[in-house]
Amino acid sequence: MKIDRRSFLALSIGSTAGIHLTPLPWKLMDDMSIWTQNWPWTPVPQDGAASYVNSVCGLCTAGCGIRVRKIENRAVKIEGLPGHPVNDGRICSLGLSGLQLLYGGTRVKTPLKRIGERGAGQWQKISWKQVIDEISKKLSEQRKSGNPQTLGAICNSDRGTTSHLLNRFLTVYGSPNFLRTPSVQSSYEIATTIMNGSSGTVGFDLENSDYILSFGSGLLDGWVSPVRMIRAHSIWKDKKARVVQIEPRLSHTAAKADQWIAIKPGTNAALALGIAHVIIKEKLYDKNFVEKYGFGFEEWKDEKGQTHKGFKQSVLENYTPANVAEITGIDVAAIISVAKDFAKSAKPVALCGSGDGGAPVNLNEMMAVHALNALKGAINNKGGLQIVPNPDYILWPESEMDKTASKGIQTERVDGAGGKKYAQARSLLNRLPEVINASSESPLQTLLVYNANPIYTMADSVAVKEAFSKIPLIVSFSPYMDETASYSDYILPNHTYLERYEDSATPYGSVQQLISLARPVVDPLFNTKQTGDVIISLAKAMGGHIAKAFPWKNYRACLEKTLGDKWKTLAEHGYIVAKKDKAPDTASAKFDFAAQAVNTDSKNDAVAPADFKPADLDGDVTAFPLVLIPYDTMRLASGFVGTPPFVIKTVGDYILKENDSCVDINPQTAAKLGLTEGNKVILTTPKNKASVRVHLSEGILPGLIALPRGLGHSAYDKFLAGKGVNFNALYAPMTDPVSGLDMTWGVRAKISKA
């Protein structure tokens, strides 16, 4: 057949029509849709047997119980552990996203040794054996030079066996420089030392309080034990307890409070004393408690026989509601009514330590608020503050010391804590940059960093980095490539909290004495090691008395031995609640309204609970007319753990927009500056400047700017790095003259259009 144009046309039309009559196009259509339902790049999770592992969350110090759902050997979901005394099955957003940290892209997968410039991100993989060898050699050499105190360690807690192992290593090495990350607990410790004469820590029996007077404490913004606080809040709602929140910005806590008192920042102590004034004047205080346990309420004589004004007299003279109103910007009527409400409540409690409690509070304020509690007997009573003894289950034999160690341990701590000037302080990490930068050669030659990310979390990032650059050897144990790990010389990656055994002792703020056991939920994913094991290995490599101080085969053996008969219960149950002592023996100690320990004439910086000393901020008022204050939110982790992707996702677009932090500013202030919602501005402080966006909010006092904590990371992955501004980069710390802790509550600032 000749193929001409006509037959070709007929053929093509015929075949097109023909094909459509066959099942082929329909089959293809079906296949294509099935393909879209099984795209190979959309994962299909493998099914398998489900199981649960009970453990403890390690992402903050609250120590919530968790149970992790597993499918075969994969962890697929973290839930709260029902019945756990801290969280009873509930869990916060950070805890929920722990698996993103476990399986995420910020893990350090093997020991690393720096090869390029510090912080340049050039690393060499190194074996555990070799890294322990190298570090132990360096430490031995350093020790031989006769200055063992040049070894320091930074750790978020001094509780639990790993911290104890680290501390023990420092001790036998000969260094007192175990530095703990400061928090509001540091302030509470000092206050109880001074006023209660107790070394215990403070527990908050808030579930039983009926009136909560919070001086800026972000009870619902992550304060001390976030889940427990939110649970307590629901209890308060049920039993109609009253919450009064005193702070310049409407935080979530303030929004949920029965009353929000917007106070001029930095004047909390004055308000506390004003409230005390009303209570004393109206004779509404707990006479029984004050007379029985109080000292220095009335006129008192010191050792030398000199007579001093009592707390009562000082407060009555100096802190009339009218005076306080002027200082704090709060109505006289409001001061009086709050005072009366507080005093008339059966179980009131006053709290301080702003935001999530990650920062200490100035001693002045702390003592004034503590005195308020004493006035109502809210110390060691139901619903008040409880002095809880420090956990005491870690009972290791005294370690043998050689001469170098004995000498080294006697030297003054590098941060001055416990020394002449800051006698009550246990640790003053905040002073470290100042001390290092002031000396030509760093007083710390080697720094071990465990469960801490000081380069991110410490104030004045520039100074911190400068100080760290002067430390010749920095070793990080971080499981994640955080800022400090990135800036270290060696990274000896720990297992994440979901891959390791670890005990967690009485969480800060807890009234109950509690031991929980974290255990591996999954097998370690990478070539990482429990830091406890690394310390034991290091000690053994150092040999001599140091090795002897660590008689355990490994960390697990140490843990089992330490916990003794508790191990079995813990392994089965996950946690143990210690039997409550009848009443803490500290109750019989006097409550010192005079704070004699720090209120002596011999001290220039003398501070009394009944004094309000306004702290002036860094910077010139005319150049920096505004005040920048930080705030915390449950949706951002500002501590040593970076915020995981899920949690970042929950952050409002009024907090983070694209890569800009947003600052809260009152519409009045914004109008004066000619700013509208979403404007990009340059925020300048005496320390630094940053580009941010403006968020107009009626929930902040005019003249202030508020910046969220927890953003501005340079480390971690694209889900966190480069997002927003780190508040710590914008201010310099102010050292509290008595406690030595940082007492900054803000910094002067200005904003100008970008």
Partner: protein, 266 residues
């Protein structure tokens, strides 16, 4: 869309969220994401491109300091029944990719059926429906944490909260295995309910007078499920969506924020 006749055991799962207790912490959002294999991307600050089946809104009373006040309002899918038996979204889906179950009262979403026309999103006044504008991706080893009980969604389709329906299925399987055909109240709870630190979310069968949700909200079945509890309200009740999520608030302005009122009604 089949109007299966209730066999006497029909459930109507619903939620009561106590806004007095809700602190806006965001746990429910993350509990939902981690339970339901919700994807995430590097920039989630454009909230109109961010998949959050459960979303906590921040409400305010529109006043100036010192009368200014805020409230947080978690918004899952409302699982609307519709006053006339039509959910806003179910009736519009051209391919029956979303359906109203008369057995549970839950609005389902069939990911492999949806072809991404987004009509349901246009229909939903709560913005509870989300589109997969991107291919989902779980970087590093994060695919390992994906739950096999919820299939990850491919690009180009709509997804939403389904009251953790897979948990209902798992609980029912267990019950059948144990020879029961009814669940205890606690056996089926959503992930957000379980996680909420404030215990602000209560979940259960609104048809069951023994369940807490029923006892708290007191739904009036004669009036389209309207709550008899004076502090309870539902979002946009006036539109006739008949949602199954109830809110509690002791603050009038918060209750008034739940619906639209003309100036002359205020």
């Amino acid at each position: 869309m089949k109007n299966n006749h209730n066999n006497g055991k029909a459930k109507k799962f619903g939620m009561v969220i106590d806004l007095d207790k809700c602190t806006g912490c965001g746990s429910c959002m993350v509990a939902c994401m981690s339970e339901n294999n919700v994807p995430f991307k590097a920039d989630e600050t454009d909230k109109r491109l961010s998949i959050t089946w459960m979303l906590v809104y921040k409400l305010n009373n529109g006043k100036s300091h010192p009368d200014y006040d805020e409230c947080y309002l978690p918004r899952p899918c409302m699982q609307c029944e519709g006053d006339h038996g039509h959910s806003p979204c179910v009736s519009v889906c051209p391919a029956v990719a979303t359906d109203y179950s008369h057995e549970t009262g839950i609005v389902s979403q069939i990911y492999t059926r949806c072809f991404g026309c987004r009509y349901c999103m246009a229909a939903c006044p709560y913005h509870a429906r989300y589109f997969n504008w991107w291919d989902p991706a779980w970087p590093a080893d994060m695919e390992k944490y994906l739950s096999p009980n919820v299939s990850p969604r491919m690009r180009g389709i709509v997804e939403k909260c389904g009251f953790c329906f897979h948990r209902y299925q798992l609980a029912m399987d267990k019950a059948y295995y144990e020879g029961r055909d009814e669940l205890e109240e606690g056996e089926y709870q959503t992930s957000c309910t379980q996680a909420c630190p404030a215990g602000a979310i209560v979940f259960g069968d609104l048809n069951n007078p023994k369940h807490a949700v029923h006892k708290i909200a007191l739904p009036d079945s004669k009036h389209g499920g309207r709550p008899k509890n004076p502090n309870a309200f539902r979002l946009l009740e006036r539109l006739g969506t008949n949602p199954k999520v109830y809110y509690l608030s002791s603050r009038k302005w918060v209750r008034d924020s739940g619906d639209n009122y003309r100036p002359d009604e205020k």
